[in-house]
């Protein structure tokens, strides 16, 4: 028993949960799957007077198509996302990224919303959410709002949600055209947080011209990053004319807060990141042309 004492709450509706959060203010923390929060409590990196366990709220569970997006309830486990045919069909990048999240024992408890709200810059789901322009649906006792991914990740482990707000679901836009996705990561051991990683999405028109592309960067800043300048430069070009190594080079331009620690210097991480982007681009590019 290592965490400091706390008061435990297990609401069964979002309304009850947000009321609890409103009463407790920043002395409360939402407990989802607990796969990041419980270690932080055990190491006493975090101490809260109240934990609001959202694991018994049915309305936070589920995967369903809503208009042009796939809605996933924040409490849906990563294991369920991984096994979902609906996700594989609509948002294949999520299906490809999920096996990189921890280990299968972690994914049995860890949730999609927990990972995104925890906002670790080296985690996969925040990177995918940013790369795909996902929308975060947030509720509090005062109402609802939707935050675009680009406005959601503020800094290390910090989002723009207020302490009384609860992430209740995430909508991932569905790419319908000739498209393909790839994820590449370099980690010391399988399941570790990546030294650097990349997610790539490419959509082509019938003539192999790039209609849109997304390049997400994992572990290369204080938040997940997006190589927007590189994307802008690649759109409308023929995929056959693009060298993956050049994409990797382009994607590393402008990164300002690359981590520099005992796991790797900033310079090393950028070299790894460049290689991961190049590999992911090559994989997605080959798949979209052949498929």
């Amino acid at each position: 028993m290592k965490p400091a004492p706390f008061e435990y709450h297990a609401p069964t509706t979002v309304t009850d949960a947000t009321n609890l959060l409103a009463e407790a203010g920043d002395s409360a923390k939402v407990l989802a799957g607990g796969q990041s929060l419980v270690p932080m409590l055990a190491l006493r990196l975090a101490v809260f007077e109240h934990l609001v366990d959202i694991g018994r709220i049915d309305e936070l569970q589920g995967i369903e198509r809503r208009d042009d997006a796939l809605w996933i309830g924040a409490g849906t486990t990563q294991a369920r996302v991984e096994a979902s045919d609906e996700v594989a069909l609509a948002v294949p990048l999520l299906t490809k990224a999920t096996p990189f999240v921890g280990h299968f024992q972690i994914r049995n408890r860890g949730t999609l919303g927990g990972s995104i709200a925890h906002a670790d810059p080296a985690a996969e789901y925040p990177g995918v959410a940013l790369a795909l322009d996902a929308s975060m649906h947030v509720r509090s006792s005062k109402g609802r709002r939707t935050i675009a991914a680009r406005d959601f990740f503020d800094s290390l482990w910090t989002t723009t949600m207020e302490p009384d707000e609860l992430l209740d679901g995430v909508s991932f836009p569905i790419w319908n055209g000739r498209r393909s996705f790839a994820v590449e990561e370099f980690a010391r051991r399988h399941g570790d947080f990546a030294i650097a990683g990349a997610t790539v999405g490419i959509e082509l028109d019938d003539g192999d011209r790039i209609r849109r592309c997304a390049i997400g960067l994992i572990g290369l800043g204080a938040t997940p990053e997006r190589a927007e300048a590189a994307e802008a430069e690649l759109v409308d070009r023929m995929i056959t004319e693009i060298e993956p190594d050049d994409v990797g080079h382009l994607a590393m331009a402008g990164l300002e807060s690359v981590p520099d620690d005992l796991h790797g210097s900033a310079e090393f991480r950028k070299r790894v990141g460049r290689a991961m982007v190049a590999r992911a681009w090559a994989t997605a590019g080959a798949e979209v042309r052949n498929g």
Binding site: P3, P5, G34, Q35, V38, L41, G55
Partner: protein
């Protein structure tokens, strides 16, 4: 800080206890249920020694509070073996293949592998290696453990044939 009552079925036996919310499921199993087969290595989710099955899913019992298991069915390594005192297929394979030496990590491997083979009765070698990456062994090495999983999987497939 108010204590909370929990009602959990552990290895088929119902347990009703009052606990501090901060009591992990691992400590609940070891200290309250006296089921010390669940081992605690790192206590922050890295080593996997404490893995148990909660409603059939392999999870780290150090990353779950006992109160979160209220209403759940928990299976520990003590519940994996048949009640006649013999070994399960997975346990027997670990013995046959030198899949353990000091045995500290073994409960985590046995519970994880039992759940994995239930869900993937015909695993590829790559799948087996990936599953083993979630638990740390620091003495036997993984080759014997890998062979044990392969043997248990092959034995399960033989049983399935008519």
């Amino acid at each position: 800080m108010a204590d909370v009552s929990v009602d959990v079925t552990v290895n088929g036996r119902r347990r009703r206890e009052t606990v501090e919310p901060r009591l992990t499921l691992a400590d609940f199993l070891r200290d309250r249920c006296r089921l010390t087969g669940t081992h605690l290595g790192c206590e922050h989710g890295v080593c996997g020694a404490c893995t148990v099955l909660v409603d059939g899913a392999a999870v780290r019992s150090c990353l779950m509070f006992a109160v979160q298991a209220d209403g759940a069915e928990v299976t520990t390594v003590e519940g994996i073996a048949p009640s006649d005192g013999g070994l399960s297929e997975v346990q027997a394979a670990f013995r046959d293949c030198h899949g353990l030496q000091c045995g500290f990590c073994t409960p985590g491997f046995v519970t994880s592998v039992t759940a994995f083979l239930r869900d993937h009765p015909r695993p590829t070698d790559a799948q087996i290696r990936e599953v083993l990456s979630g638990t740390l062994c620091r003495c036997t090495g993984y080759q014997g453990i890998f062979r044990a999983v392969r043997q248990a999987a092959d034995a399960g497939q033989r049983e399935e044939r008519p």
